[in-house]
C-alpha cells in the first residue's frame, strides 16, 4: 500500500494488484447495504400510508373551492376573526356600492333649475347657487311640479354633484358677458369647484339635468 518500499520493476504490478484488492474490498463493504432491512411490517405500512395520503388528496379535490380557502384558518382563532372582519368589511363595501348604484336610479330625470331647489331647514337664506357652492351644502327639495311628478322629493346635494354612473348635464346662461352660455356634461363626479366657478361668474341661470 502507500508508503510501502518496493522495487521499481515491480511497482506497476503491485499498484494494479493494490487497486484490484481495494476495489474488491470496497465492493465487500458496499455489500452490507444489501442487508439493511426496514422494520418488519414496514412495506405494508408504507403502502397504507401512500394509499391514505392519495385518498386524502382525492377527498380534498372533491370539496368545493371555498373549503380550500377556509381550511387553512380552521382552528386558528386569530385568523378566523381576521377573516370574519374582512368578510364583514367586504360585505359592507358591496352593500354601499349596490346602494350607490341604486340611488342614481332614484334621481329624477328631467331638468331642474337651481331656483327650483329650495333649501330645507332654517338658516339658508342664501341663493341656491351660493348654497351649492358652499363647503357644507344643505339638501334641496325639488319643488318643480313638472319635474317627473315627484314634487317634494329630497335630493341630497352629494347625490347631485357626486352621484356616480349617471350622466349629468350642467347648463349655465345669463352671465354678465355675452357668449358665455354653455353646457357641461359629465358622467360624474362633477369636477370639484365647478359650481364655485359658475357662482363667481355670476350666471343667473344654472340648471342640472340628470339621466340619459
Amino acid at each position: 500500500m502507500a508508503g510501502r518500499f518496493v522495487g521499481v520493476a515491480s511497482c506497476h504490478e503491485l499498484n494494479m494488484e493494490d487497486k484490484s484488492r481495494e476495489s474488491s474490498e470496497w465492493q465487500q463493504i458496499v455489500r452490507i447495504t444489501r442487508y439493511e432491512q426496514p422494520p418488519p411490517g414496514f412495506q405494508a405500512a408504507l403502502r397504507k400510508r401512500i394509499h391514505a395520503r392519495i385518498e386524502e388528496i382525492e377527498v380534498e379535490r372533491a370539496k368545493p373551492w371555498w373549503h380550500r380557502w377556509i381550511k387553512p384558518i380552521t382552528g386558528r382563532p386569530a385568523l378566523i376573526w381576521a377573516n370574519a372582519l374582512t368578510a364583514v368589511g367586504l360585505g359592507f363595501v358591496a352593500l354601499s356600492i349596490s346602494q350607490t348604484a341604486k340611488n342614481p336610479g332614484a334621481l329624477p330625470k328631467g331638468t331642474v333649475t337651481l331656483n327650483d331647489l329650495q333649501p330645507t331647514g332654517a338658516g339658508f337664506a342664501a341663493s341656491p347657487l351660493q348654497l351649492l357652492a358652499s363647503p357644507t351644502p344643505p339638501e334641496f327639495t325639488v319643488t318643480q311640479a313638472g319635474f317627473g311628478g315627484i314634487g317634494g322629493r329630497t335630493i341630497p346635494y352629494q347625490m347631485v354633484t357626486q352621484a356616480i354612473w349617471v350622466p349629468i348635464t350642467v347648463s349655465f346662461s345669463g352671465g354678465p358677458m355675452s357668449g358665455q352660455n354653455g353646457t357641461f356634461e359629465s358622467t360624474n363626479p362633477i369636477p370639484a369647484g365647478l359650481f364655485q366657478s359658475l357662482n363667481q361668474r355670476q350666471f343667473s341661470q344654472v340648471s342640472l339635468r340628470t339621466g340619459h
Binding site: 481495494e22 444489501r34 442487508y35 422494520p39 401512500i50 392519495i54
Partner: protein, 213 residues
C-alpha cells in the same frame, strides 16, 4: 492510497432487472387502469416498486423515517402526474426519476442541517455472507457488532459526500444503474458521472481505509 477501479455493481441492480413480456403487459394494464382513476391498480404498482423506491431514498439519506416520507411523496406525486405519463419509458423508470428528483430536492433543503442517521437493522443473513465474513476481523468475537459498526461508518461516509457525489455513488454502486442511466437521471453527461464516481470512491476509501488495513 491507490485508486479504486471502475467495477460492475456489487449488488444486483434493482433498476436493471429486465422484466419479462408478461410483466411489461401487466404493468401497462395496471398503469392504464390507474390513469382511469383505479386506486387498486395504482396500489398494485406501489406494491411492485415501493421497496426499490424506498431503498433509493434510504441510501441517499441514510435515514429510515426520511426515506419513508420521500418514498410516499414520490408515489403521491406519481399519482397526481399519472395523466402525463405517456409510456415513453417504463413506469418504474418514470417513478424512479420522480423519486430521485424528490430526494435531491429534499437534500438541498437539508443541506445546512447535520444529517441524522437512522439506520435499518441488518438482516441476519449478513453474518453468513462470505464476503462480509471475510471483511470482519477474526479478532472480533462479536461479529454482528462489527458489521453494525461497518454499516454505520459506511452510511456516515456517504452522508459526508456532497450530494452530487453521493447520488452517483449510490445510484451506481448500490442501486446498480449504468453510467448513461445516471447521466440521464441527474442531467449531466456520462463522463461527469464517471469522474464523480471516481472521486466519491476515493473519498469513501480514504474515510474507511482503516477497515481493511
Amino acid at each position: 492510497m491507490a485508486t479504486i477501479l471502475m467495477e460492475p455493481p456489487p449488488t444486483q441492480a434493482p433498476a436493471a432487472i429486465k422484466p419479462g413480456a408478461e410483466e411489461v403487459a401487466e404493468v401497462r394494464r395496471l398503469v392504464a387502469q390507474a390513469q382511469g382513476g383505479d386506486m387498486t391498480a395504482f396500489d398494485s404498482l406501489v406494491g411492485r416498486y415501493q421497496d426499490r423506491i424506498y431503498g433509493l431514498c434510504y441510501h441517499l439519506t441514510s435515514n429510515h423515517e426520511e426515506a419513508a416520507d420521500l418514498a410516499q411523496d414520490a408515489f403521491v406525486k406519481a399519482w397526481q402526474a399519472l395523466a402525463s405519463f405517456k409510456g415513453d419509458a417504463s413506469f418504474f423508470t418514470w417513478v424512479y426519476r420522480i423519486a430521485v428528483n424528490t430526494t435531491l430536492n429534499y437534500l438541498k433543503t437539508r443541506r445546512k442541517k447535520t444529517p441524522h442517521l437512522s439506520l435499518n437493522d441488518l438482516d441476519f443473513n449478513a453474518e453468513n455472507d462470505p464476503d462480509l465474513v471475510a471483511l470482519v476481523s477474526d479478532r472480533t468475537p462479536r461479529r454482528d457488532l462489527r458489521l453494525k459498526e461497518i454499516q454505520e461508518r459506511l452510511n456516515a461516509g456517504l452522508q459526508k459526500l456532497s450530494e452530487e457525489h453521493r447520488t452517483v455513488l449510490v445510484l451506481h454502486d448500490i442501486q446498480g444503474l449504468a453510467h448513461d442511466e445516471i447521466a440521464s437521471l441527474v442531467g449531466c453527461n456520462p463522463g461527469t458521472v464517471r469522474s464523480r464516481l471516481f472521486y466519491a470512491r476515493q473519498q469513501m476509501q480514504a474515510w474507511l481505509a482503516d477497515l481493511w488495513e
